[in-house]
């Protein structure tokens, strides 16, 4: 007979209590895992950002445009390999609740700069040839049941009017960090239309996307770009793609912090629940621990029994919690794909789940173990029966 056998038998002595505690741990780990995944989803853009790309925008605010003429000047700066640009379109598909990211880009340079956006060659060719063409991410296509050749009408909010686009391509991500729920179309289509309807707004871009020759030179190139437009009517702010993404997150940082706090509170609460279970268990078995001590088992053996039992319960709970996290994340992802286009349970989250369950198991066992070790054998034996 091994000590593990005693631990297992002890853990399942009160089946209902153990089952409920395991259930509690599983739900806590599920909640913790989902909350951590929400945080990861929040940072998905940052994770996906490349070290060799810069973003240049108006130094006052992103809502102020930059002249198209900056493109050629940026191209001439040392260290710049490729320049693309885009405008946030903010169009609505049928109803406002159907939100998805949609923006106008210079398609050729954009696809060159973002190799993680994968489009079949024939679709890519068709997309580049037709000015009214658009490509949409796989998730968007599946959500609305669009097909190649479908005409999609978006109602402009920033750029008024109904805008028709022909779906010529479906893109997928090269890896899981790529947002597959965006809608991208030709900047020329937007600009040519604006020239007719609102000439003052034509030849303006929302931001430039810049590929650098060497990621190590990104900071220097950014400074050079901003220096080139100093004292102009539209001064620029150039930063790495990661910093650009983080600037968006900083706007909602309070929410992220709140979610982080709640995720740790969940763990703290379950720690209290498991500690209570272990305290009850140890109190009931104090006589048995005295018997073990009478037979010659030392404090270390008693500690192993209690810590082992506590860890067994939390690790089983953790395993169930992790097993539940994946289907729950799938449901969550489907329901909230608009807000969290990238909602993947990260390996790091799983490690955190395991670490949290081990921590809960260890902390919950400390007090009962101390109590069981400290009690005098004669006092413990009086509690038998």
């Amino acid at each position: 007979m091994h000590i593990l056998k005693i631990i297992t038998k002890n853990a399942f002595r009160h089946k209902l209590r153990t089952f409920l505690t395991i259930l509690g741990v599983a739900i806590a780990i599920l909640a913790f895992g989902l909350l951590r995944t929400v945080i990861s989803a929040w940072y998905a853009g940052v994770e996906a950002s490349s070290a060799s790309r810069l973003v240049t925008r108006n130094s006052i605010s992103l809502i102020f445009p930059l002249p198209l003429s900056y493109r050629d000047k940026i191209r001439q700066i040392d260290g710049v390999k490729l320049v693309s640009f885009g405008n946030w379109f903010g169009g609505i598909y049928i109803d406002e609740k159907n939100f998805f990211a949609n923006y106008a880009v210079e398609p050729k340079s954009y696809l060159e700069l973002y190799p993680e956006i994968v489009i079949p060659q024939d679709q890519k060719k068709a997309f580049l040839q037709d000015r009214k063409a658009a490509v949409a991410g796989r998730i968007l296509i599946e959500k609305y049941g669009w097909k190649i050749g479908d005409i999609i009408t978006l109602k402009g909010t920033i750029f008024p009017g109904n805008w028709d686009f022909v779906i010529h391509g479906i893109y997928t991500g090269r890896d899981k960090t790529v947002d597959e729920s965006a809608f991208v179309f030709h900047w020329d289509y937007l600009n040519e239309t604006l020239k007719k309807t609102a000439p003052m707004r034509a030849d303006q871009v929302g931001w430039y996307m810049i590929g650098v020759t060497n990621p190590n030179l990104a900071a220097d190139v950014a400074v050079k770009i901003d220096n080139a437009f100093k004292n102009s009517l539209a001064e620029t702010l150039t930063e790495t793609e990661k910093a650009f993404q983080l600037s968006f997150i900083s706007m909602t940082e309070a929410i992220v912090i709140a979610i982080k706090i709640v995720s740790f509170l969940v763990i703290f609460i379950i720690m209290a629940v498991v500690a209570n279970t272990m305290a009850m268990t140890a109190r009931e078995r104090i006589g048995e621990y005295a018997i073990f001590k009478t037979l010659g088992f030392g404090g270390w053996h008693i500690a192993r029994l209690i810590f082992g039992e506590s860890l067994l319960i939390t690790i089983i709970g953790c395993a169930f919690g992790i097993a539940l996290t994946f289907p729950a994340a799938d449901i969550f992802s489907s329901a909230l794909s608009t807000y969290f286009p990238i909602f993947n349970v990260a390996t790091k989250t799983l490690y955190m789940d395991i670490a949290a369950s081990i921590l809960v198991g260890l902390v919950a066992a400390v007090f009962p173990t101390w109590r069981a070790i400290k009690i005098r054998i004669a006092d413990g034996l009086r509690r038998v029966g």
């Binding site: 007979m1 048995e288 010659g296 088992f297 030392g298 054998i377 004669a378 029966g385």
Partner: protein
């Protein structure tokens, strides 16, 4: 009794308990020798210090002063860890309420003290089977305590007490929770342990019939040992 070496030597033993500011003396200058293969019964009214004396001899409590030697070891000078190791190999315990672990089978309960030894699994099995054979419970080794009668549970407890072949066996009211027939059976078994296996037993009991099975009966009253033991040799 003559010619036997004392296996337990107690000299000027004092023990008291503290209750708040009060000091309650429990044992008062106890001096006692117990010879090898002796079957000693300690009797006395409740609160006379019988169980306390038994606990001190078994190394599960600490004396205020005095010495207790068991075999060649002065157990009053041992640390807690040393005392635990000493108990594991030198003392077998038989309790009134059997004190078996309910989630372990009879076999596993008897095997418990052997987990602290270096014996292989096979050797442990042999020891356990032999101990259960001695108490005539070989056919119940897979039963759990809840599936056994009181008498059978006490026999499992005795098997657990003897499985490590300890120097002394201490029994605290071993028949206190048993019916008459089971009590006779257990006392008979204890006699066999003394006569056939050469064990030394120190038994605390209230039951005069149980005490009569012992070789010597000693009385404790208010922490003082009766100077004239009854000898039933």
């Amino acid at each position: 009794m003559e010619g036997k070496a004392p296996i337990v030597e107690i000299e000027h033993l004092f023990k008291s308990y503290h209750r708040g500011d009060q000091i309650l003396p429990v044992l008062n200058d106890i001096t006692l020798n117990i010879d090898e293969t002796e079957f000693l019964a300690l009797m006395g009214p409740s609160g006379s210090g019988k169980t306390t004396l038994l606990n001190l001899i078994a190394g599960i409590d600490r004396a205020d002063s005095g010495t207790i030697r068991v075999g060649s070891v002065d157990i009053t000078s041992l640390s807690e860890t040393e005392l635990a190791q000493w108990r594991a190999t030198n003392v077998g315990f038989i309790f009134q309420f059997y004190n078996l672990i309910p989630v372990l089978s009879a076999f596993e309960n008897v095997e418990l003290p052997l987990l602290l030894t270096d014996l292989s699994k096979r050797d442990r099995r042999e020891h356990v089977e032999m101990a259960l054979r001695i108490v005539n419970l070989s056919d119940r080794m897979d039963h759990y305590p809840g599936q056994l009668s009181g008498g059978q549970q006490q026999r499992v407890a005795i098997a657990r007490a003897i499985v490590t072949d300890p120097t002394i066996l201490v029994a605290d009211e071993p028949t206190g929770d048993l019916d008459r027939v089971s009590a006779i059976e257990i006392l008979g078994l204890m006699e066999r342990l003394v006569h056939e296996l050469g064990k030394t037993i120190i038994m605390v009991t209230h039951d005069p019939r149980a005490a009569k099975k012992a070789h010597i009966i000693m009385h404790l009253d208010k922490g003082v040992l009766n100077a004239h033991p009854q000898n039933y040799y």
